[in-house]
């Protein structure tokens, strides 16, 4: 075998474990889900194999699914904006900290050591009728009786922000950390105030990180079902809850498959738009 041929094969050999894993754990299950979406569920819960468009027709034309999807996108967008507003200053502080950044980053990662469900449920102990906040407000005399703060859309967004904020901070931090601080100094020496140098130099250069964090937060928020289940009220369901219900409660795997592919397609389009304008390299950098 020639050297050129060996060199041409080498990347494929090195990539083969990852490609095999992706093929078996992502592509094959997705094909199964796609095939399932064309099946039908009988009244007893058994599935009828075949090529039927009923599930797709229902998923695409029923206003119920469209409304919940739009609501999901709205909640995800609000969550992403809140994460950006809260995450950027935190990331800026860490990136510009003179002390040990590793400790700050470690503190940022600390919540990941606790289960996501436990973290979500912890809000019940904080915001509940007999939770910490109500107890404190009653004790200080600010309120006369407990205020109902839980089980609404606001607490769903709060729970999502709690879960997703570290993803935003990490991405923005990676972006800010890569900016040469001499650029800000140069702007200052040319007469810009600190605020102007931030607005005209630092912020534009850190936008790819902000966008990468935003994409991650949005996609993860749109796919969650635990948070609305634990912290939402009766009408605060998100699209992933519909998938969960179709597959788990109603045993309607074909419809659940169609719904999950529908959500995947919507989020896929968003990722493609992101990739078109910003590229995936920044996202990989942030994740790394």
């Amino acid at each position: 075998m020639s050297v050129e041929a060996r060199e041409a094969r080498q990347p494929w050999i090195l990539l083969s474990p990852a490609l095999t894993a992706i093929l078996l754990l992502l592509v094959v299950p997705l094909i199964f889900i796609l095939v399932y979406s064309f099946w039908l569920r009988t009244a007893t819960g058994a599935d009828i194999a075949g090529f039927h468009l009923d599930n797709w027709q229902e998923a695409l034309t029923d206003r119920f699914y469209r409304d919940i999807l739009l609501n999901t996108l709205k909640i995800s967008a609000i969550t992403t904006i809140v994460c950006a507003l809260m995450g950027y200053p935190a990331a800026y502080f860490i990136a510009r900290a003179r002390g040990n950044k590793a400790i700050l980053l470690l503190l940022l990662m600390l919540p990941f050591w606790i289960s996501y469900i436990i973290r979500t449920m912890s809000w019940i102990n904080i915001l509940g009728v007999s939770g910490a906040l109500n107890t404190f407000l009653l004790w200080t005399g600010v309120i006369g009786e407990p205020v109902q703060m839980l089980y609404n859309q606001t607490t769903v967004i709060l729970g999502l922000v709690h879960f997703l904020l570290p993803f935003m901070v990490l991405n923005v931090f990676v972006s800010l950390d890569g900016i040469d601080t001499n650029l800000e100094d140069a702007a200052n020496s040319l007469g810009a105030t600190r605020w102007e140098s931030f607005l005209q130099v630092t912020l534009p250069l850190s936008l790819p990180g902000l966008a990468a964090g935003g994409l991650l937060c949005f996609v993860l928020a749109a796919g969650t079902y635990i948070t609305p289940l634990v912290l939402g009220g009766p009408t605060d369901a998100m699209f992933a809850n519909l998938v969960f219900e179709a597959i788990i409660t109603q045993l309607n795997w074909p419809l659940g498959s169609a719904l999950s592919l529908m959500l995947l397609a919507v989020l896929g389009v968003l990722v493609m738009i992101y990739n078109r304008y910003l590229g995936m390299a920044q996202l990989m950098k942030g994740l790394g």
């Binding site: 007999s130 839980l150 009766p234 519909l242 788990i248 409660t249 109603q250 045993l251």
Partner: protein, 383 residues
Amino acid sequence: MTKKMDNTTRYERLLDRYRNGDIDRRSFLGLIGAAGLAYGVQTPFARHALAATDQVRFDGWGGVVSEAFRQYAFDPFTAKTGIAVVDGTFGGGDEYLSRVKASQPGEYNIAHLSGVFDYARYAGLGFASELNEANIPNLEYVIPKLVDVYRPITDGKISCVPYDYGTTGIAYNRKYISDEEMQEKGARILIDEAYKGKISGWSDWRTRIWFGALQTGQDPNDAEDMDAVWDAIRTHRDLSLKYWTSGAELMSLLAEEEIYVTEGWSGRIYALQEQGHDIGYMDPPNGYGWQECLFVIKGSPMEACEELLNFMLAPETSIAVAEGQNYPPALDPNKVDLGEKIPTLPAFDPTGTLSGLTFANPTYWNGHEADWSKTFGRVQKGY
């Protein structure tokens, strides 16, 4: 005397042949290597194959129920037989059915299922096993009515043993709702505007429809005006703080006073009362009665499962579990002395006929399952 031919003997003989010069060094090492390779390849699979016979998987409702099963049934059973019981939990029969459907035969063995309708659904989807009743002599202590109801579904055979029964009644905080008010309003208290934001309910479509039927004065096993039932469910939804999805959440909502009234499982409410919470419990007329069984899923190691079922039905085990989980056992009080605590549990029937409880008609409920579970999914979300 003939020496037993095991692997050690085989290797000793091989070594002798090598030392005697019967085989060369290359062949000796090759045979040893092949034996090592064979052992290495088969061991992981052999462990799984052996495990199938010395352990049984049991799935139940979690919380105080699972704790009672673990403490009073599984641990003593393992100590006695050496068969380990791996216990998992689920939030409801629908969720568990989905997991079983996605599993390989033998992956799930025994489930603590609720209601005859669950039994019928599992059997209808081909998950019913066939128990050898001769291996479960303690079945004779069980209330006959509880066993007989399963037989027509599975051609006279049974795939489960009844284990306990209870009710889904109305639980209320006595600090805010008096017993008299509760008696007066019954199931309609769950759609009373006065308690808006302090009402809850289980997110289970059957329970919602059952109570919707009661609130509209209809027979839960034969509601004729479903529009009225759906309207009642919508009213309940709009007045509710949230739907609970597990027994633990039910107990937490009541104990923390997030809600004042909800329907609840009799045993869980009894557990709250035992903890000192002033929670009342009432079964309205035509309240939701149910029986639970230990269902053996097709493909399970039958003898080990039957041994476990028989152990669990032994009066001393069954009574201890019942006292732990606060649901009356399926044992016939006419045949077994149930002790002092069980007669005090909610839903307990001292006659052993269970004539005072209304159970869900499996044909009626399973016949509407596809339509109603889907409709409830929409109503639940504001439609």
